[in-house]
């Protein structure tokens, strides 16, 4: 196969595979087989199209071909006799309908199937790592190799992870459905968590030499935008997308020319992507219309406070401190408290913030979290206690997992001495 065709296959796979896999999973109740058959259909199509011409509607063509293959599969296995009759009927009745009607009804159905697939890929029977890999594979259309590269893992590790995840789903007989009311909340949280995990791994890589891996941010944003289309009534879906859009808007500003991280308050705000900010603020408005704010929406509101401030001085720190308090009530965590302390220090003075941070430090929950000494160093520096500040930055550097971040913290430790000498 020529390189051109291979690249076309990759592109078509990316666009079409999630829908095809979703529909076939509904028909076959087996994600693994659905994926294999989808791959077969795609390869066949791309062998035939160059000779016979690409059909007018490649999506519909592939869908019909995939459904046929699924029915053949069921027939061969002689399983689910009644199901097979029903599906055959579905396909035949579609053939009798005008094309536009088929497309419209197909779109709705496919949407439902995609949503089910998302819930299955993010099912709590799977480990977090498995959920992430499976979601990127099945819904993002990434190849195993691409996922492996993005996560700096050997390809066989990811391939195994995906195979095992599919087996677990089959063994546990995970239902291909959107969970009902009571269960929905928790299951949706898992979907949102997976998307946000992918985003965060891209935004602040937990390992490796690069501070960011923007491709992963892009994948997460895309998944989030797709989910918004599938669940437009869920406030938190809009909230998560708003949060990711606004964070992504800072991508250009948060790394300097040498690849070093630039802190939020030191970023050149002219480099923030206004298009993404606008998209984020729009998403936030839709979240407000859809219902009560949850943790993602509140975090997006905090991010929006920064996005709206054209200068650091214009930041509404009182509002940010309030929002962190709201967030702390929803999801109590020492990390949220630490952020609240930062906002309070900006709104009401460094000492108020330091009091909170000291209380947190005494609690020991954040003993291994590099941002605690980092924030403490910051506040001590503002209060002129440079020797203590330097010590805190060094401690923070020793705890930081990201190489770029560690360098930044060591630099800040060194700067403490210099500032003291020059003042």
């Amino acid at each position: 196969m020529s390189a051109d065709i291979q690249r076309s296959i990759d592109a078509v796979w990316r666009i079409e595979s999630p829908r095809l896999i979703a529909v076939l999973t509904r028909m076959l109740r087996d994600v693994g087989v659905a994926e294999e058959l989808t791959q077969d259909v795609l390869v066949t199509a791309l062998e035939h199209w160059p000779r016979r011409g690409v059909p007018d509607n490649p999506g519909a063509w592939l869908m019909t071909a995939a459904k046929r293959r699924a029915i053949d599969f069921l027939r061969r296995r002689k399983v689910l006799e009644r199901k097979h009759a029903q599906l055959g009927h579905e396909l035949e009745s579609e053939q009798g309908q005008p094309a536009a009607d088929i497309e419209a009804s197909m779109d709705d159905e496919i949407g439902d199937d995609l949503l089910r697939l998302m819930f299955v890929a993010c099912h709590p029977v799977l480990s977090t790592d498995a959920r992430v890999a499976l979601t990127l594979r099945l819904l993002g259309g990434l190849t195993t190799g691409e996922i492996a590269r993005a996560y700096l893992q050997p390809e066989p590790t990811i391939a195994q992870r995906i195979v095992r995840a599919k087996r677990t789903l089959a063994d546990k007989k995970v239902a291909f459905e959107v969970p009902r009311a009571a269960e929905l909340r928790e299951r949706l949280d898992s979907v949102l968590e997976v998307i946000y995990l992918v985003f965060n791994e891209g935004y602040t890589a937990t390992a490796g030499d690069d501070w960011m891996r923007p491709d992963l941010c892009g994948e997460a944003l895309r998944l989030g935008r797709v989910l918004v289309g599938l669940m437009p009534g869920e406030a938190e879906v809009h909230g998560l997308v708003a949060l990711m859009e606004i964070h992504a808007s800072r991508e250009r500003a948060r790394v300097d020319a040498e690849g070093r991280p630039v802190l939020l308050l030191e970023q050149n705000r002219a480099q923030w992507d206004r298009l993404l900010i606008r998209r984020g603020l729009d998403a936030l408005e839709r979240a407000a219309k859809a219902g009560l704010a949850g943790p993602y929406t509140v975090q997006a509101m905090i991010a929006a406070c920064h996005a709206r401030a054209l200068t650091v001085q214009a930041t509404d720190w009182v509002r940010i401190a309030q929002l962190y308090e709201t967030l702390a009530q929803m999801t109590p965590s020492p990390v949220v408290e630490l952020n609240r302390a930062v906002a309070i220090s900006r709104a009401f003075g460094a000492q108020s913030g330091l009091d909170l941070v000291d209380a947190l430090a005494a609690d020991q929950a954040l003993d291994n979290y590099h941002l605690l000494p980092s924030v403490r160093g910051d506040l001590l520096g503002m209060l002129g206690r440079v020797d203590e500040a330097r010590e805190e930055f060094r401690r923070a550097a020793a705890l930081a997992g990201n190489a770029r971040e560690r360098q930044l913290l060591l630099q800040r430790a060194a700067d403490c001495g210099r500032e003291a000498a020059s003042s």
Partner: protein, 119 residues
């Protein structure tokens, strides 16, 4: 990565006439697909160049030239901003776009610089 996808102008778009209801509907459906796939970042249609202007730079001098502009094929009639993983994916999407005009049309795909390109 992001791509700017531009529809080249022609006599029809330069005439200032609005596209037919059918074409708007087809384009609307295509745009909906792009949104659903999480690909679409922005989309705008541009009015005829007779309503635009150019500012020409020559050293430190600037001179304003009012539209319309003669070289229709060099103009653009509208654009999208897409987020996709490759040029091939952008091409695949463009192939699915309804023909923007009767007869001959052209759509140009250009990659946008990203933050890391400046690193």
């Amino acid at each position: 990565m992001r791509f700017m996808v531009m529809v080249r102008a022609n006599r029809e778009s330069e005439s200032g006439a609005m596209p037919s209801a059918q074409r708007l509907a087809e384009m609307g459906k295509f745009n909906e697909e792009l949104v659903k796939a999480g690909v679409m970042l922005a989309a705008e249609g541009l009015r005829a160049s007779s309503l635009g202007a150019r500012v020409r730079f020559s050293g430190s001098k600037r001179s304003v030239i009012d539209g319309p502009f003669a070289e229709t094929k060099e103009l653009i009639a509208g654009f999208w901003l897409w987020q996709v993983r490759s040029l091939d994916e952008a091409i695949e999407w463009v192939k699915r776009c309804p023909n923007p005009f009767d007869g001959e049309s052209e759509i140009e795909i250009r990659q946008v610089f990203e933050a890391e390109d400046f690193g």
